[in-house]
Structure formats: C-alpha cells, structure tokens
C-alpha cells in the first residue's frame, strides 16, 4: 500500500506545531499502525530528518501508552488501541491525518507525545484502598458477590490512555475518573473510603483543568476497553451521596 500521512510536528511544549506531509510506500496490510510509523521513522532517520515522536510500549493494547488521533478519531477507526489497529483498516492511496490527544490538561511534549500526568494525580487524590502491606485479612474472609466483582472488574479494565478525554468535545475526564471510583466503591474493601474517594478525585479532576461533562457519550465510544457510559452516572450518584452525607455531618 502507498499512503499519504499528514502528521502533527511540534518540536517541544513551547514551540508552535504544524501538520507535515509524508509519503510512505510498501506498507503491508498485516502491519500495525505503529509499525507503519516505524517504517516512516526508519526512512526519516536515514534522510537525516527528525523521526516522529510517539508514545508506545507494550504494543498489546494494555499499557495505555499509545495515543494518536487518526483521521479525527482517538485511536482511529476501530474500537481498539492504536497499537492494535492494523493497516488492513485502510486502503491503498489513503490520506491519513495523525494528531496528538488534544486537551488543555494534556499539553504536548513533542510531536504526538502528550503529558498525561494529570491522570496520575487524579489517582493519587484517592484512587486506592488504604491497605498497608501485611495488614491484610484472609482473602476469603469477605466474600464479594459475583455481580459486584464483575462490575468492579469491568471498570478496573481502564488502561488510562486518555482517549476519553481526547474524544470529548469538552476535554472531560469523567469516564476515566468514574472508572476508578466505581471499581473501588462497589467493593466491600473500598467502602470505608467511599465518600472521600469520590469527592477528592472529582476535586482533583476539576483542578487539573479537564472540562465538564455534557453527556455527549463520545468518551465511551472511543474507549478501547469498553468502559460504559453509565459509569459516569454511577459516579455522579456516588458524588451526590457523598456530598449529602458530608452536609449531614
């Protein structure tokens, strides 16, 4: 396959960026999207040009490092991560636009690489269960009903890639935040910190400059792990409950 790529190039966080056009040839349908970019980069290096910087690591769709907006869609046309997108999803002669995640809370580091440390700070605000090592009770001491365990797992699958933010017209991080709140709040082990968790995480999310949620649902459509949209409603319920409880105290 022969393709035209229009790629966002930006030297560093402070520089202005622009789209640059490249032609690539000899692309196999079996290549992953990132292997296609590897091919481009090999050519650029040999030409003495700066290769395109992009985040990637496991290339198995689980680490959450890869993060490209492809033809306007976070992670491209298939519902998966960019590393699991294959070139058979494109046609010979296509022009493909490749941009970084766009959100004010995710500043560009270089080219297609963005800074997602805001997500880490949201987790640090309360996305954990306080369980010092060694103080744990026997694992079977607290049974967890299977539906609750499954609900927790479904939300725990979030890989923290940021596609939800990139897809949202408001740059909102509600889906990411709700995934962790719901994972931990439904479990008996997470229940003692249920209120502080949701209040602190939502507070941090707002402080980081993520936008508000207007329930457009783009986040859940872009999510490669299928975190469902009702996750946000469930978090809102937790948040209202926590505020009501706090007001009573």
């Amino acid at each position: 396959m022969k393709l035209t790529l229009r790629v966002w190039r930006q030297k560093n966080a402070g520089a202005d960026g622009a789209m640059s056009t490249y032609e690539v040839d000899g692309i196999s349908q079996d290549m992953s999207f990132l292997e296609m970019l590897d091919t481009l980069n090999e050519e650029l290096i040999l030409k003495g040009e700066d290769p395109v910087a992009f985040d990637h690591d496991c290339r198995e769709g689980i680490c959450g490092a890869c993060s490209l907006v492809i033809n306007g869609d976070a992670h491209g046309p298939e519902r998966t991560t960019t590393c699991q997108l294959h070139m058979r999803s494109f046609d010979d002669g296509d022009t493909i636009d490749i941009e970084p995640w766009r959100a004010s809370a995710f500043p560009v580091v270089k080219d297609l690489v963005v800074d997602r440390s805001a997500f880490d700070r949201i987790i640090q605000a309360g996305g954990y269960i306080t369980a010092p090592t060694g103080a744990a009770p026997e694992a079977h001491a607290t049974p967890v009903p299977k539906p609750d365990a499954d609900f927790a797992f479904e939300h725990a699958e979030c890989i923290g890639c940021g596609a939800c933010v990139a897809a949202c017209p408001n740059g909102s991080a509600m889906l990411f935040t709700s995934a962790k709140v719901n994972h931990l709040n439904v479990l008996p082990q997470g229940s003692p910190e249920r209120e502080t968790r949701v209040l602190d995480m939502v507070g941090q999310m707002d402080d980081e400059g993520f936008g508000g949620c207007t329930l457009t649902g783009e986040c859940a459509t872009a999510c490669p792990k299928g975190i469902p949209l009702p996750s946000i409603a469930a978090m809102n319920k937790e948040w209202l409950r926590a505020n009501r409880k706090a007001a009573k105290r």
Binding site: E35, I45, G61, D120, Q124, A131, G134, A139, P143, K146
Partner: protein, 649 residues
C-alpha cells in the same frame, strides 16, 4: 576464535544470608535475625527504586509505608505502564482453596522441579510461603480477581501443574495486580513519602567506597542528565528478553539498569536461561516489531496439533481427524497440552523443523478449540477466553471460533539476572535486585503464573524485611556531593557515551542493528543451542559491535526528547549482554529447562541435565567490554527435592 570464550574461573560465590535449619523455618529465622531500623530513623534513609512494575511498585509503596524516603524512577510516562501490566494468565498461591492436595510444600516442589533443579531451595520455599499472603494483600487492595457465585475466589490450573492454584482476573491478571501496586504507590506519592521521577531513565550506577550510593539518570523530556543519591539502590527494572529484538516484552523494556550495575561489579547469573513461550502469535513479516503472547491458559482447553504429513497445505478444517498429529498428547500422555513451557516450545520447533509447521513460512502450529466449543458450548468458551480470541482476531484477521489459532514460540521471560543472595542483595553492598531483574527463584525454567508471584513477593514482603538489615548495619554516611570524584567520573562517562552516539552520524539506524543482533541470538542462542552455533555468534557479536560504533546514526541532540538516542543507548548494552548470554550458553554443556544444548539430550530427544558437572548457578564478573569475564560458581544443594530427570510423559 574469540578469546572471550576463554574465561577464568574465580572463587565460588556463596549465599551467606540464608539461615540453616529446616527449610520451612528459614524465612522466619532470617526475619528474626535481621536487624531493624528504628521507625524514627527510617525517614533519614533514602532508598532509590528503579522501575515501577510489580516488584518495583510494590517495593516502593511498602518501603514508603514503613517510613523510608523513597525516590523512584520509571522511563514510562506513568508508573502504571510498566510491562507487568501485560501479564495475562494469573498468579500462583498455595491457598489450597480447592482442597485438591495443594500445599506450600507442593508449590515449592513444583517450582524447584519446574526450574529443572537450578534454583536455590531456600529462596523457592520462601516464595511458596509468601504466595498465600500476596493474595490476601491484593484482595485487600481491591484487585478484582475472578470469583465464584458464592463470592469466593476462583482458581484455575496452569501450565505444568496438576492442582488448581492460579488466581486470575480474566486474561488481565498482570494489569489488575499492577494497578493495585500502582495505586498503593500513588497513595505514598500523595503522602509525600515517594518522590517519583517518571520519564526518567537510569543510565548508570554510582558506587562509592564499594557501596551502591546512587544512580545517574536522564530526564527523557529535557535530556538533562542528573545524579541521585541514596543509602541503598533497588533495581526492579525487569528482564532482558529484548536482546532478541522480537519478544513479548514491551518495546522499551531494556537491560541498561542491570547491565550498567553488572559493569560496576554486580555479578550476572545464568544469563543464558531465557524462556521461550509456546503460545505466541506467529510473525507476519519483516516489519514485525514485537510478538504478542496468547495466555497459556488457552492450553487448558485448546488442543495443539499439526498435520501428520509434511508440507500439507490444506486449510485446517479440511484435514481429517486421522491425519492430524496431536503431538503433545501423543508424546506426553499424562500432561498432554499442559506440559511446561520449555517442553511445549521445543516440541513445536521440532514439528516445524520436520516440515509439518502451518501458516506462512511453516512457522506455526494449530491451537484448536473445536472440541472445547463442542464440549462446553461457544458461550462458555467466550466467557473464559473472549478477550484473547478478540485479540487474536484483531491481529490476524482470522476468527478462532471457526478456524484454529496458529501459534509459535517466542522469547518471553529471562530467568537469569543479577546474582542475589537470600536477602536479594547483589554482590555490590547496598545494591538490591528484585523481580525479573534478579536470577533467584525460577532456576532454568519458570512455571506459568509464577512471575507475578515472585515480583510481588520480592516487593511487598522480602525486600522490605531484608533491606532493614543492610541499612541498620551500615553506618549512616554523610550525603554524597555532586563534586565527589567518583560521581563526576560516572557522570562524565555517561555524557561521553551519549555524545559519541550522536556524533558518529553513520548510515544505519538503531533498529537495523537491534534486528541484526536479535536474529543472530534467535538463531544461535534461542530454543536449541549448539557449540558450533554459539561459537559462531561469539565471533559475530564483536563484529556487529564494532560496526555499530562506526555506522550508527542517531538524529537530533541529547538536550531534547529523543527516542532514537534512548534506543541506541539501550542497544549498546544489548551488544555486550548478548555476548555474555552466548558464553554462558556455551559453557553450560548440558540441557536444563529453557537452555537446550543439542549435544546433551536423551535418546528420545528430551533435555538431559548433567548434575555432576553443572549443579550450580553461574555468576559472571565483568572485566571489560569484549574481554572474557570471570566465572564464579554457586553450588546448589538439594535437601528436600531430589534432582531427578524431569518427566512429564
């Protein structure tokens, strides 16, 4: 002939930390004998932890919880992305929830035997003991393990064992355990007990007066090279499987931290013990950048076969039952498709070498779920393996519910690593190595679902106990200064190396060298090794290294985000480590576990161990680049599990 192969043998290396006495009491005894650091004094001690995977993340969180000041590093943009996250299958623990005859002793026995009698009994027994605490700890943290309808934890059986002791979270156990450790670490970061440096890569170790006192690390965004000082340094930087270029490791997983530590005096043990995982998706072409593992749990229900006839190119569904060879079931009737990884991998290679492989290039075997779908129904298969089937279909564009999967072995895990004693201390005082970065628990072959167990055992439980002893016994020293001559020297060496990489301005990319080295290693130091092949590789590696420093091209500068420079610098270390791996494989003229020497096999083609000569761990001491290292043997003694030739027939 390369003189690298003419190594000298030095004094034996001895683990002085493992206590005597009954194996089941040794860990308690060690913990009691170890000195403690007064809680009020702990905050005065700084501990550097490199890596945030299962071992590093859990160690950082636990040490910080204990009151130490932890300074932690990861080259990824977030600690949550460490490659432990990609582990699929599960984590072993001797809980015996199934009442199927499991026990700590059985897990101990299985691990020593599975490792083909090349691991230390004391360490392995401790691992089995701690396994039960890990599950408790993870459940308390909210790790959503699979559960039964009654609300209790579910388990399954996993490659190479006959009991059901593997706890799992669908096909994403590593992800869930890692996020548990990441969250515990995040809590400590928020509390100010852990100072995290993300996108910062360790490039060298600072050893002053014979003790590890800090590291040199590069900020990958600004390119700034800085020094960080501590009272102890913990390496949790993972394995070195990426020497092979194609492996199931993440693209950026690398050996630089452990290799630089090795160059500074830490012995490197059993580098040739690499694990080739039998169930990976075969490669599709030259462009392949990495290989994807399919969880071994698939072997619980899938049946592995190839056509009986050579060169049979009919589609799988058109090959009648009596023309299929279910070779694992045929050769190993009692374990069948569940034989350990090394055996399954080699058997796949053998049938492909016979010309009976399937798929492009004949480098593949079928993993067939037709019988499982008939027996359990498609819905049940989907519930158990749905995400793996989806992943397979996404990568290959074939539907595994309708046509059998194609799999082929790929490099997956490295049992070798930095030599450590019972306390997980390396031969450099103050330098500890945990998780895949050390060599300790898996011998010559790791059993499925044991990597997660070891990473978390080291990080949550072992290191936090043993490091106390070192810190308590080491007189508190004044803070190092940036001006110290040793610090200046290490810093200058690092800067020079990066500048040299940038200045060569040759005509070959970093990847082209990496691929060339990887292909060489896969051919000569992969699934089957011979003296001739290894000598060939030892001759070739210095040539590639010489060419590398003449022809490498790294664009850009060192003062910016430069992924080519990161890559090239890691390849510098692979080009040295590869040589040691080949030498280790050459010197160990026996077959054991993942190390198969064609010269040492039984008449029916199984690995033949030679205990009288090789019942030791080979710990190598670095001398100089390209110069032969010194071998130090740690003799292994088996008091509880008596070495027998492994048999899974």
């Amino acid at each position: 002939m390369n003189n690298f192969a003419e190594y000298a043998t030095g004094d034996p290396v001895v683990d002085t930390k493992a206590p005597e006495g009954p194996v089941a009491e040794r860990w308690d005894k060690r913990r009691f004998e170890a000195k403690l650091v007064n809680p009020a004094n702990r905050r005065k001690h700084t501990v550097i932890v490199v890596g945030t995977g299962l071992a590093g993340g859990s160690a950082g969180a636990t040490l910080a919880e204990q009151g130490y000041h932890v300074v932690q590093f990861c080259f990824q943009d977030s600690p949550r992305r460490a490659h432990s996250i990609a582990a699929q299958g599960g984590i072993n623990a001797a809980k015996n929830y199934r009442n199927d005859g499991d026990s700590i002793h059985r897990l101990f026995y299985d691990t020593v035997k599975g490792g083909d009698f090349r691991a230390r009994e004391s360490n392995v027994h401790r691992l089995a003991q701690i396994s039960v605490e890990i599950i408790d700890q993870c459940v308390a943290q909210g790790v959503p393990f699979a559960r039964e309808y009654g609300g209790l934890l579910d388990t399954r059986s996993f490659g190479g064992v006959q009991v059901s002791r593997t706890f799992y979270a669908r096909g994403q156990t590593g992800q869930q355990l890692l996020l548990g450790a990441y969250q515990a670490l995040s809590r400590q970061i928020a509390a100010g007990n852990v100072e995290l440096h993300a996108r910062t890569e360790m490039l060298d170790l600072i050893v002053v007066d014979g003790r590890a006192r800090g590291i040199v690390a590069r900020d990958l965004i600004t390119g700034k090279i800085d020094t960080y000082f501590a009272d102890a340094v913990v390496l949790a930087s993972g394995g070195y499987g990426n020497v092979f270029y194609l492996s199931t490791n993440a693209m950026n997983s690398n050996a630089t931290a452990i290799w630089r530590a090795h160059r500074r005096g830490a012995y490197f043990a059993n580098p040739c013990f690499t694990q080739i995982h039998p169930t990976c998706i075969p490669r599709t072409g030259e462009h392949q950048s990495k290989l994807t593992l399919m969880s071994e749990s698939l072997r619980n229900d899938g049946r592995i076969w190839v056509p009986k006839a050579q060169g049979d190119t009919r589609p799988a569904n058109e090959i009648p039952e009596d023309e299929r060879d279910y070779y694992l079931e045929r050769i190993y009737p009692s374990f069948g498709n569940l034989v350990p990884r090394d055996i399954a991998s080699r058997a796949a290679k053998n049938v492909c070498d016979e010309g009976r492989g399937v798929g492009p290039g004949g480098q593949g075997v079928y993993l067939d779920f037709a019988d499982a779908i008939q027996r359990m129904g498609r819905a049940k298969v989907e519930e158990k393996y749905g995400n793996l089937f989806d992943m397979y279909e996404r990568i290959t564009a074939e539907n595994p519910y309708e046509v059998p999967m194609r799999i082929y072995p790929a490099v997956h895990y490295t049992m070798g690593g930095l030599w450590v004693d019972y306390d997980l201390g390396t031969t450099i005082p103050g330098l500890f190595a945990i998780g895949e970065a050390n060599f300790s628990d898996h011998g010559a072959n790791r059993l499925g679902a044991s990597a997660l167990m070891q990473g978390l055992a080291d990080g949550y439980f072992v290191l936090p106990s043993t490091i106390n002893d070192y810190l308590a016994r080491t007189p508190h020293k004044d803070a190092l200064s940036e001006d110290h001559p040793v610090v200046q020297e290490v810093l200058a060496e690092t800067e020079d190396r990066l500048n040299l990489l940038l200045s060569v301005d040759g005509d070959r990319t970093p990847d082209s060298f990496h691929r060339e080295l990887g292909e060489l290693m896969w051919e000569f130091c992969g699934m089957a090794r011979t003296e001739t092949g290894l000598r060939k590789a030892l001759e070739r590696i210095p040539q590639i290294r010489e060419e590398f420093w003449r022809r490498i091209k790294v664009p850009g500068t060192g003062e910016e985000f430069n992924q080519s420079l990161e890559k090239a610098n890691r390849i510098v270390d692979y080009l040295e480590l590869a040589e040691l791996m080949c030498l280790d494989a050459l010197h160990r003229a026996e077959s054991c576990g993942g190390h198969f020497r064609e010269e040492s096999q039984t008449p029916d083609g199984e690995a033949e161990r030679r205990d009288e000569e090789f019942s030791y761990a080979a710990a190598w001491e670095f001398t100089d680049t390209g110069a032969s290292p010194v071998l130090h043997k740690e003799e292994l003694h088996f008091e509880y599990v008596h070495p027998t030739q492994r048999s899974y027939a």
